[in-house]
Point group: C2
Chain length 342, copies 2
Amino acid sequence: MQKKSEPTIHDIARELKISASTVSRALQNNPRISLKTRDKIISVAERIGYHPNTLASNLRNKKSNTIGIVVPLINRNFFSAVISGVEEVAFKAGYTVVISQSNDLANKEIAIVRSMFANRVDGLIISIAMQPTNYEHLKIFRKKNIPLVFFDRVVPEIEANKIVVDDFLGGFRVTQHLIDQGYKRIGHMAGPLNLQTYSDRKRGYLEALSKNGIPFEEELSVSSSLTSEDGAATAKKLMDLPNPPDAIFCGNDTTALSSIVYLKELGLKVPQEVGIVGFSNEPFSRMVSPSISTIVQPAFMMGQKAAELILNQIEQKERTFRTLVLPTELEIRESSNRRLAP
Amino acid sequence: MQKKSEPTIHDIARELKISASTVSRALQNNPRISLKTRDKIISVAERIGYHPNTLASNLRNKKSNTIGIVVPLINRNFFSAVISGVEEVAFKAGYTVVISQSNDLANKEIAIVRSMFANRVDGLIISIAMQPTNYEHLKIFRKKNIPLVFFDRVVPEIEANKIVVDDFLGGFRVTQHLIDQGYKRIGHMAGPLNLQTYSDRKRGYLEALSKNGIPFEEELSVSSSLTSEDGAATAKKLMDLPNPPDAIFCGNDTTALSSIVYLKELGLKVPQEVGIVGFSNEPFSRMVSPSISTIVQPAFMMGQKAAELILNQIEQKERTFRTLVLPTELEIRESSNRRLAP
DNA sequence: CTGAAAGCGCTAACAC
DNA sequence: GTGTTAGCGCTTTCAG
C-alpha cells in the first residue's frame, strides 16, 4: 500500500503544455495570469486531484504560516480558553495554530519546542512548565529572532513580549476578602514558587496579611504542584496543624475543590467553619456545592492579545517588547461567603 | 529585524572542506562515516548553532514524522485523555503530534484537516464534529492512502480503522441501573442523533426500556448539543412536562451537572426524587455533591490504541481495517443511588 | 569512507 | 501574459 505520489504543478503544466510557474502563479491568483488560462488550470487541478504541498512552499518561502502554542496542560479551562483566543485571531489572519502540551515536564517541553523550531513555526506562544530548566531551548528563539510570546507563566530572564494577569493583586484581593469575612487564620496553598505567577500570588497574600496587622506563619503556606491529589494532601497537612487555619486561599480551583471534599470528610462546614477560595474560575467552580469563590482571569482575551502581539512581531517586525498585565476579578461565591451562608 | 538565515549543512561542509553529503550522513549517525570526521562535524555544528531544517528533510523524504489529531474540544477530559494516550505512544515511536480542535464546527474541521493534509501529516486521528457535513475532506485521506483512524465519533461510510466504546451497552446499563433503583419514568438527554455514539446510547436506552416492558414515550427523549446550557434547558423542558420523569440519563457529565443544579433550584432532591446519570466520567463528577453516576470510558487506552493502529498503518502499510470496540463501566455514585441516599 | 549530482515541489527574479 | 532558470535545505543513488 504505497502512497501514490501526489500530482504536482508540473503535472498540471504538462497537461496544459504551459510552464509550472504559470500554474503556480494562477493558483495564487496572481493577476498577471489571464483569466482564461487560470480557469483552465483550476479545472485541471480539480480533475486530477491536485493539492498544494505546503511543505515545499514553506521551504521555498522560509515561512510556514504556522504559529505554535505550548501549554502545560490542554485540559485546563484557563489554558484551553487562551488557546481558543489565539486560534480566533490567528485563523482570521490566515495562520494555522499547532498546539502541544508539556504536561509540566521540562523534558517534554524541550522536545516540543525543538520540534516546533525544526518545523520552522513563524512564532511561538508559550506558558512554561512547572518543572524548572535553564530555558536554553527558548533562548534559541530569541537568538534567531523568531517571535516569542510568553503568557501567564513567563521566564523573567528572557526578553520577549509577555502577557500576565495581575497575580499579586489577585492574591491580595482573595486574602483581603477572607479577612473581611471574619476569618482569622488564613492558610495558603501555593504553587511552585519558582514560577512568578505563584510567587506573586503569595506576595499578594503576604501583603494583605501585613496590611491588616496579621503576622505570617510559615507553616500556614504550603507549596505543591496543585493537582487534585496535592489539594487533598495539603488540606490534610494544614488541618493537622496544632493550630489549623479557618480559611484557605488555594492556588487553583482544582485544589479548592479537593480541599472542600476533604474538609467535608472531616465533617467541617464550608464556609461556616472553613472558608475556601480558588483561582482561575474553572467552569465546575460555579456549579459545585458550595460554589467556589475564585479569581476570574480574562483567558480568552489573553489568547487574543498573545496572537496579536505575535502577528505584529511576525509581520511588522517590531523591535520593542512589552509586558501586558491584564486585570483579574474576584468572584465571590458560597465557599467563602460566611455572611450569606444558611 | 530580519530572520537571520539559518546555518545549513553546507556551511558546515564549507568550513571543514568536505561535502554536504558527508555532513548529512554524519548527522544521521550513518556508520559509513568515520568517527573522526563525525566528531569534527558535530562540534562545528554546535559551534555555529546549526539546527536541522525538518521542512527540507520532510520534503525530500516525503514523510513528516508527524501525526495529526483533531478533536471537537480539547477542554474535555475524555478528549484530552485520548490525546495524552496518543502522545504517549507516538512520542516513543519518534513522532510529533499536532493537535487541533474543531469546536464542533464543520467548517473549522474542514479547514484544519485540509491544512494537516497540506502539511503532509503521516496520519490523521480524528473524532468528528457534531455539525454534519459530507466528509469530502476526509475521503481525500482514503483516496491518497494516508492512514486515517477514527475514534469515538466515526464516519460509518468511510472505511478506515475505528475505535469506539460500546455506547449501546453503556446506554443500556445506565437505563437498567435506573430501573433497578426503582425509578419509573426515565428520561433521556440525547446528543445529536446523526452521530453514532449518541444514537447508540439512545438505542441502549430504548432496549433497556423495552426489555423491562416499559413503553417508550417520545417526549421523554430530547436531543441537543449537550452543552452546560443545553443541560439546564433540557432539564427544564423535561420537568415541565405534564408527567415529568423521575430519572434522567444525561448524554454527558456536563449536562448531568447542570441538570442537578437546575433540579436543586426547583427544590427537588437528587437522587431521592430524581435520579441522574451522566456519561464519560469528567473528573469533577466524582467531586461534586451529589457525586454523579456515570459511564467510565477507557479514554487514555483509546488514544494508545489509536496511535498503535496508525503507526502500524504508516510503517507496515497494513491493508485491513478493523473496528475496535472498547468496554465501558458503569460507576454508580450518589446521584442515582436511591438506596444509599441519606 | 567520501564526493558529485540530481531532485523533493514550489516560487520569484529576470527575461521576452 | 508566460517561460526560463535557479534555488530553498536536505537526502540518496552512483561512482570511486
